[in-house]
């Protein structure tokens, strides 16, 4: 069990090797790919079972990898409550993605499956890396298969979309690479272990630049306004599986990067840039919603909705309190499930009609009742209806945002709740409701068994996470506490200890944020008026540790 993480990450690679040597028998190739992803998923289940609800990294493997010159890179992997669920999400989505284009991709099946599995390696690797260099490797590694998936098996304008995706992402990540090097040299000799970097006391000015470099990479990936324009193109052109993975996992790389790297590494800069980032996130929410509303292409609409949803995640993360981050994390998973499902749905009708224009549809409910039901559930999950997963995340994000200094932003962001209903329902209405007037639509077949099997786990997850999110939140809580404590402690450290005399830290532009809400009043946690049943402060709580 010591190597379970490596096992999970590299099972798909084994699948790739197997696929490479297999004959070009499409059914067999698909089967092997699906089998590989299923095995990976099953293996990853053991992570949940073995996971201890503590803040530390678990399943850690630390093997020296590159030792040359002044550098020391390790194969250092491990997960905590934050990455656990993203790993699971990845392994969970993968079989679904493979199944989703079971019949749609007829050409170059071998290459296609190889790309998908390679992509999985990259994604899993990025989530489990605790070594910045290793992380970067996996981060870049994801680009190649995704590029091919969009470019080879995509739609009409696929080349443009693929190249745009690749270069856009590349620009950001290369700047991050420079920042990684800089941090490394600042930290002095050693390895690229992120926990080591957490404790490097960088001066605020440096942090500013480094944060910007990291944030650019992550913001592009998220994508945040105004760096989002690659996304609609990429989504629209990608084959269904590509869109699903892109939405479900790849975009999470950005937000994950923020929470794992940008924020704890550069606490001062985080504090300083929180208003900016929050502003962009809020603009993203409102703007993307408005733009989504007017889309004529279903897939593009869903793509823009992704931008809006990810805006919520960013707000949550930057609220920097339990609720906000937990909500953001949940929202990441939710978005993976719901938007992944939406893309699958778009894929289903595209496979049948070879069009995605809203105006080509209408009244499908009559013809495809099962499809309609599932579509509706997913739509409402995306809107964030209570009882579905979307709500819990969105609610916690907004709650967290409201408790933090981001209150004004959060209020505007809350309006996204209305807008999401507008664009999703309008789209749903135009596609599913109304007269079944188009003769081509009158012969559509309802979902087949494969498609139902694809959707079933997603629908189940929508409800499970909506009704009983506790296990998800519980597992991530200690890690979030630790993260907050980490970020907070560093935020005050340079101010409190002006070491070196000349350290006149540029005070964060914001008043020291009362993040975590009650941190200010948390001292008297045993307030007499505290109602019974009120949750006691968790042990690793920032209020407790800050003292």
């Amino acid at each position: 069990m010591d190597y379970i993480l490596s096992l999970i990450t590299f099972i798909p690679l084994a699948g790739v090797l197997l696929l490479l040597v297999m004959p070009r028998n499409n059914a067999m190739l698909r089967g092997v790919a699906l089998g590989t992803s299923l095995v990976t998923f099953i293996a990853s289940i053991s992570l949940i079972c073995e996971f201890k609800t503590i803040a530390d990294y678990q399943f850690v493997e630390n093997i020296p990898w590159i030792q040359a010159g002044s550098f020391q890179m390790n194969y250092h992997v491990g997960i905590d409550g934050i990455s656990l669920w993203l790993v699971i999400l990845t392994t969970f989505i993968m079989p679904i993605a493979i199944l989703s284009t079971w019949t749609a991709v007829e050409e170059k099946v071998k290459e296609y499956m190889i790309c998908l599995l390679l992509l999985q390696v990259g994604m899993l690797g990025a989530f489990i890396s605790l070594d910045l260099f290793l992380f970067y490797i996996f981060w870049e590694l994801m680009l190649i298969p995704m590029y091919f998936i969009i470019g080879i098996w995509g739609g009409k304008n696929r080349v443009y979309a693929a190249v745009k995706f690749f270069i856009y992402t590349m620009v950001g990540s290369l700047l991050m690479l420079i920042a990684i090097m800089y941090v490394y040299f600042k930290a002095g000799a050693g390895d690229f272990d992120i926990t080591r970097f957490y404790s490097v006391g960088l001066d605020p000015a440096t942090q500013t630049w480094l944060f910007l470099a990291f944030a650019l990479a992550f913001a592009i990936k998220v994508p945040m306004f105004p760096l989002h324009t690659w996304l609609p193109d990429a989504h629209t052109e990608a084959p269904t599986a590509g869109s699903v993975i892109l939405a479900a996992v790849l975009l999470k790389m950005g937000t994950y990067g923020f929470i794992r790297f940008a924020m704890p590494l550069f606490p001062d800069a985080t504090a300083r840039f929180t208003p900016l980032i929050a502003t962009l996130a809020v603009i993203g929410i409102v703007y993307a919603s408005l733009v989504a509303m007017m889309q004529e292409d279903v897939k593009k609409l869903v793509a823009y909705s992704s931008v809006a949803h990810l805006g919520f995640v960013v707000i949550g993360l930057f609220a920097l309190n339990q609720q906000g981050i937990a909500g953001g994390m949940l929202q990441m998973i939710n978005h993976g499930v719901s938007t992944g499902a939406l893309f699958l749905i778009v894929g289903f009708i595209y496979e049948r009609r070879h069009t995605r224009l809203i105006s080509d549809f209408g009244g499908l409910s009559k013809q495809m009742p099962i499809f309609a039901t599932i579509f509706m559930i997913v739509t409402f999950s995306s809107i964030g209806l209570p009882g579905t997963n979307g709500f819990v995340g969105e609610f916690l994000v907004l709650l967290g945002g409201f408790e933090s200094t981001l209150r004004p932003w959060t209020i505007i962001a809350s309006s996204g709740v209305i807008l999401s209903a507008v664009y999703m329902l309008w789209m749903f209405q135009r596609v599913m409701f109304g007269e079944l007037s188009n003769p081509k639509n009158q012969v559509l077949k309802d979902l087949n068994a494969r498609e139902i099997v694809i959707m079933a786990p997603l629908v189940v997850m929508i409800f499970v996470m909506g009704i009983y999110p506790t296990p998800f939140i519980d597992k991530m809580n200690p890690s979030i506490d630790k993260l907050i404590a980490q970020t907070k402690r560093n935020q005050v450290a340079p101010v409190a200890a002006p070491a070196g005399g000349s350290a006149v830290p540029v005070a964060p532009a914001m008043p020291s944020p009362p993040l975590g809400g009650h941190a200010a009043t948390g001292g008297d946690a045993s307030h007499s008026d505290m109602p019974a049943g009120h949750p006691a402060l968790p042990p690793g709580h920032p209020a407790g540790e800050a003292k």
Binding site: V291, M294, L385, V417, D524, D529, P535
Partner: protein, 668 residues
């Protein structure tokens, strides 16, 4: 019994799941309908048990909280899936399950033969479950599940005939409008939670805990903000100005839906919520004022529109909006019990009215269908004289109409009169009292008028459909009429549990049981209310009698006008419209509110969206991205001309480069 409270929402959930998942396989309407009805009836039985137990308990022991499981727990935030039983929620579950059961039963008959019969029952069950969650929720978040859940179900039910574009539009409109309200609710929730936590270290969204901590809340200020936000939520759900326009459109759904959603349950959620959080609302006089004013305004506003509509369900819809306005008026004047009382009586008579109208439509539809006529089965201008062919419907309908019109002895009278009295005598709004009362009274007059107009046009006079169709008119089956009779009965007598003190004294001091029952819930509200009351309640029996008489008189005036116009002198309405064409057009077109909203919000939003997409996103944002690429490529194709292919040019560049370098280093 209290411990089993979780069964109440569970039964309809089970019903929903069975019908929703298996309904298509079951196919048998009786089974499907039976499951649906039994599910909610089971809840009704449990509710009865709870009611009985609660009655048997001492008033101070009537609050009970049942935690089923912890739903969300993150840091200091905790939301349990928990149910709260107290006299208020007890009334609500009785109303919801009771009226709900009847409507389910009714639906079996009404929806007979409809495509997607199972779907309808599944939705109804889901709806009831949501509503029950709403009223039973022990914290704001569980309430919010129900709150959004009823929104969802109304979406599903209004959009039941999804192939009709109007139905889809109406459904979407309902949901979006509700979402606007939900946005308010959420912000209110956040504000309250954050403020209490930050300033009182009470991190909770639990109603009882907030109540306990409500002494921390200041008067006005942040509470005004929070309560106004909540009120926005309430206006969305309860179709108050400015978010009322979805409700009339919602008549696109099948009639039982209108009865269930838009009469008895969902729209009352806002009222209930204000009642549930009265201890917070009472702390903000400004909010209370706003609520009262909005309520009164809605009452009169919707009533005016109701006078000119021809669609039988639309009249009822505007009537609902208007009646909800009354309830908000009550809430806004601190008469929470009166508001809830009206909520209950309204549930009876309005459900009866809707179901009655459904019965009429059902019959008309049948008749018109068999006569191969394409006339609108819902248009009152096609009806008339139905009292002969549909006696039971007529009688129950008439009873309910009398009740809503406020004729003494029927339930509506007691509740409405209570509200008007409270509006007049409440200590809060100073000079506004008279105006509020006046508006209320005029609205009541209108109510009497348009309701009787409805009755007269539908049941009196001559039948205006073709003779051929006329022959097919007949009374609806028992499964439809039984609920009508029960509801008619309740509409008639339901008011007696809340006899005004004044009348109660006449009969030997019968107390207002209803107010007594709710007193523990609202006592705190009362207490706070008096703290800022300018003067104590100036209870003047003579005045109260006078006002009571006045309101009766007003109702009678309305009825007689209707009688004059639609029974005696049927050409009067035509004359009236030709005299004031503009006014009629405005009223008929609902004061052009929909158009105004389109103009103010919908179209600008679309235009903005379009601009942001095509003008900003594609041209500017993406244009910048592609522009950078284009610039680089442009440079590329420009720079490639530096490679002229001529050796001397290359040599020249080399030499020039060398000279530049040398020059720089030598002469710097």
């Amino acid at each position: 019994m209290f411990d089993n409270v979780w069964l109440i929402p569970l039964f309809p959930l089970i019903g929903f799941l069975i019908n929703g998942l298996l309904g298509k396989k079951i196919k048998n309407e009786a089974v499907i309908g039976g499951i649906g009805t039994l599910a909610i009836f089971g809840s009704f039985l449990v509710s009865c048990g709870i009611l009985l137990e609660m009655i048997s308990r001492a008033p101070e022991n009537r609050v009970f909280e049942k935690v089923v499981f912890t739903w969300i727990h993150s840091g200091n935030f905790k939301a349990d899936m928990a149910f709260l039983l107290d006299p208020l929620s007890c009334i609500m579950i009785m109303v919801v399950t009771g009226v709900g059961s009847l409507i389910h039963l009714y639906s079996i008959g009404y929806m007979h033969g409809e495509e997607g019969f199972y779907r309808f029952f599944a939705y109804l069950n889901l709806f009831c479950m949501s509503m029950l969650l709403l009223v039973l929720g022990s914290n704001m978040l569980v309430m919010f599940i129900g709150w959004e859940g009823v929104g969802l179900c109304s979406y599903l039910l209004i959009g039941y005939y999804f192939h009709k574009k109007s139905a889809g539009d109406a459904a979407k409109k309902a949901f979006v409008m509700n979402r606007v309200g939900d946005f308010g609710f959420l912000v209110g929730l956040f504000t309250l939670y954050w403020w209490l936590g930050e300033n009182a270290n009470v991190w909770t969204i639990n109603f009882m805990e907030i109540k306990k901590a409500s002494h921390f809340l200041p008067y006005g200020g942040v509470v005004t903000v929070a309560t106004l936000c909540f009120f926005v939520g309430a206006t969305g759900k309860s179709a108050q100005i400015p978010l009322f326009t979805w409700l009339p459109d919602a008549m696109e759904g099948p009639t039982p839906v209108s009865a269930l959603i838009h009469a008895a349950t969902m729209v009352t959620a806002g009222v209930y919520m204000i009642g549930r959080m009265s201890f917070v609302f009472i702390k903000s006089p400004d909010t209370m004022m706003v609520i009262a004013v909005v309520g009164a305004a809605t009452a009169i506003f919707a009533a005016t529109i109701g006078t000119a509509q021809n669609d039988i369900k639309r009249v009822l819809a505007y009537s609902t909006v208007s009646q909800l306005g009354f309830m908000f008026l009550a809430m806004g004047t601190g008469a929470f019990a009166a508001g809830i009382f009206h909520l209950m009586t309204h549930a009876f008579f309005k459900a009866c009215l809707f179901l009655g109208s459904g019965s009429v439509i059902h019959a008309m539809h049948y008749a018109l269908h068999h006569a191969h006529s394409h006339d609108d089965a819902q248009d009152m201008r096609n009806m008339g004289g139905l009292r002969k062919s549909m006696p039971i419907t007529f009688i129950t309908f008439l009873v309910s109409t009398i009740a809503i019109a406020g004729i003494p002895g029927f339930s509506g009278f007691f509740s409405k009169d209570e509200i008007l009295w409270q509006a007049f005598s409440n200590p809060y709004h100073g000079g506004l009292n008279i105006i509020l009362w006046g508006i209320g009274a005029i609205a009541a007059c209108f109510t009497a008028f348009y309701m009787f107009r409805l009755v007269f046009m539908t049941f009196y006079g001559d039948c205006r459909i073709s003779a051929k169709a006329k022959g097919h008119l007949h009374e609806s089956p028992l499964v439809i009429t039984i609920p009508l009779m029960v509801l008619g009965f309740l509409a008639a007598v339901g008011g007696y549990i809340g006899l005004p003190k004044l009348i109660g004294e006449l009969f030997g001091g019968i107390p207002n049981y209803f107010e007594l029952w709710l007193e523990p819930v609202f006592e705190m509200a009362q207490e706070y209310g008096h703290q800022y009351a300018q003067s104590g309640g100036h209870h003047n029996p003579a005045l109260e009698w006078g006002l009571m008489g006045g309101s009766v008189l007003i109702a009678l005036v309305g009825i007689s006008i209707a009688f004059t116009m639609y029974v005696k002198n049927t050409d009067l309405p035509g004359k009236f419209t030709s005299t004031f064409p503009a006014l009629h057009r405005a009223v008929y077109n609902k004061w052009y509110i929909d158009e105004l909203y389109d103009f103010l919000f919908v179209n600008p939003c679309k235009a903005l969206g379009n601009f942001l997409w095509k003008g900003f996103d594609v041209l500017i944002v993406d244009g910048m991205v592609n522009g950078v690429a284009a610039v680089v490529k442009g440079w590329s194709s420009a720079f490639r001309y530096s490679e002229t292919g001529y050796v001397h040019n290359y040599a020249f560049v080399m030499a020039a480069g060398t000279v530049t370098i040398l020059g720089y280093y030598i002469f710097r």
